[in-house]
Symmetry: C2
Subunit: 283 residues, 2 copies
């Protein structure tokens, strides 16, 4: 099983053009994980000419155009601007000549300083050893989650009721996460943590596929070594769309990264909050 570094490694082809080999291990069902794909684009941005002096991704907005397949992919970086404190690029992941994922990325220099001011509600989650280790083969599911072999995820047991057919309807799933390869989180791998599975809709009694349409991530500071804690929350569900946010705290309790995504969901046709329980295809 490859490391995160190996799964996102790039071979340079010419200036600002790379080849990646997308690793099926970083998949949910048969689809490559969105956060993993953004991490590949983020690495290309950092390695590009624009990344000199701006070593970290700080903001990434990606649009998911068409699911890429595991295997070789072209990654192209187009510099929009290189400034003193930031550089801004567009990065494309291309297969068979078609853009599969495109992202606008701001690069900069992060540090590990404390926030100057914060109004983000702190995360409450039991100690990791009291949480539930997510499996690659969720009970009752008809698909597997290979990602869970490379991202070790422990779920707050208070947020697991959906897995037993009784979702809490709060749209809230908190987890501990660490990379199974033993490496510490960094700004690129945090993009994986910022796109958690399962989606928050599972806790609303809406099992099923939730493809991301657009995802925007901010990496706010360098994470301390150790596991991160992640809070995934749904906010508004309607019109076959859900927006959900993820916040990530490092082992020192500092908020290090935030994301929001708009995803497609299938809202039950009765037009109101469904009362049937989730089907347990969740963990």
């Amino acid at each position: 099983m490859g490391t995160f570094g190996e799964a996102t490694a790039l071979t340079i082809r010419r200036a600002d053009q790379y080849e990646a080999v997308l690793d099926a291990q970083w998949s949910v069902g048969t689809r490559l994980h969105g956060g993993y794909l953004l991490a590949v684009l983020g690495r290309a941005a950092c390695e590009s000419s624009a990344g000199a002096g701006h070593p970290h991704v700080t903001a990434v907005s990606g649009v998911f155009v068409e699911p890429p397949e595991p295997g070789p992919a072209d990654v192209r970086v187009t510099t929009l601007r290189v400034g003193r404190s930031v550089a801004q690029v567009r990065a494309d992941l291309v297969q068979q000549g078609r853009t599969r994922v495109e992202a606008l990325i701001t690069l900069g220099l992060l540090d590990d300083s404390e926030p100057w001011w914060s109004d983000v509600e702190p995360l409450e989650i039991p100690p990791r050893e009291e949480c539930f280790l997510a499996s690659t083969d969720p009970p009752g599911a008809d698909f597997s989650v290979p990602l869970m072999d490379v991202v070790e995820q422990h779920v707050d047991p208070g947020h697991l009721a959906f897995a037993f057919g009784a979702p809490s309807r709060r749209g809230l799933i908190s987890t501990w996460q660490r990379l199974a390869d033993g490496t510490d989180w960094d700004p690129l791998s945090l993009l994986v943590a910022l796109d958690p599975v399962p989606p928050a809709s599972y806790d609303l009694g809406m099992p099923g596929w939730v493809p991301t349409i657009q995802l925007s991530a901010y990496i706010r500071r360098l994470p301390a070594p150790g596991p991160v804690r992640v809070r995934l929350r749904a906010w508004d569900v309607g019109g076959d769309r859900m927006d959900e946010t993820a916040d990530v705290w490092d082992d020192k309790g500092r908020l290090v990264a935030r994301s929001t995504q708009l995803a497609a969901v299938r809202v039950p046709s009765d037009g109101q909050l469904s009362q049937q329980p989730g089907n347990g295809r969740t963990m």
Copy 2:
């Protein structure tokens, strides 16, 4: 004074390429307003070949590369994918051959249905007639805000303490907004409402320029006629960056649009929450 429609009007040059004439009226100080610029890009996306059958912007992620000048600008739309329920494009605003703003845009079809589920805290704001009409010439400011002549904005008086040198430190500014031209809000003009001025940092005692780096917006449903109510909130300030969100409710009290932006701020060098009052360069 032109209408929103006139200020964002496009002349087609060739397929998916347009000319806009950027209107200095939609400025804060000498800088064109970010939400206005995204609306110009959004209109181009809707008018492009990808917009056929997908009439509304639903997700817009923009990166602000270099401030454009008032006057003519080229707007180019590149189709990434046209699907059954969504179309995805990239749109660029170009002057003197340089990209000034670039956005990834998802188009779709919105309706005015109620949310199926929501966990967004409702907005509390006094009636419009009890709120404070924002002026183009904020008291004590050394710049003007021409935007306030085209976006009529009434500020919650409970969130105005910063204007008198005593910011509440909550990072919260709620407003009523309507277009001065009398037209109702639509998905494009909501992009203007989603990028409120002044920034939430003013309520943290941090006056001064807050340029947006990246902004992501979701239009969730069609707004009812009438004014909208907007809540602007800061979340995390540190490392010379602030993230802030805006939520917009229509006249029927439905959440219609949401945004998040990462912006550059100057964090006081003492490394902690400054106690000196704001300087009142705010409204």
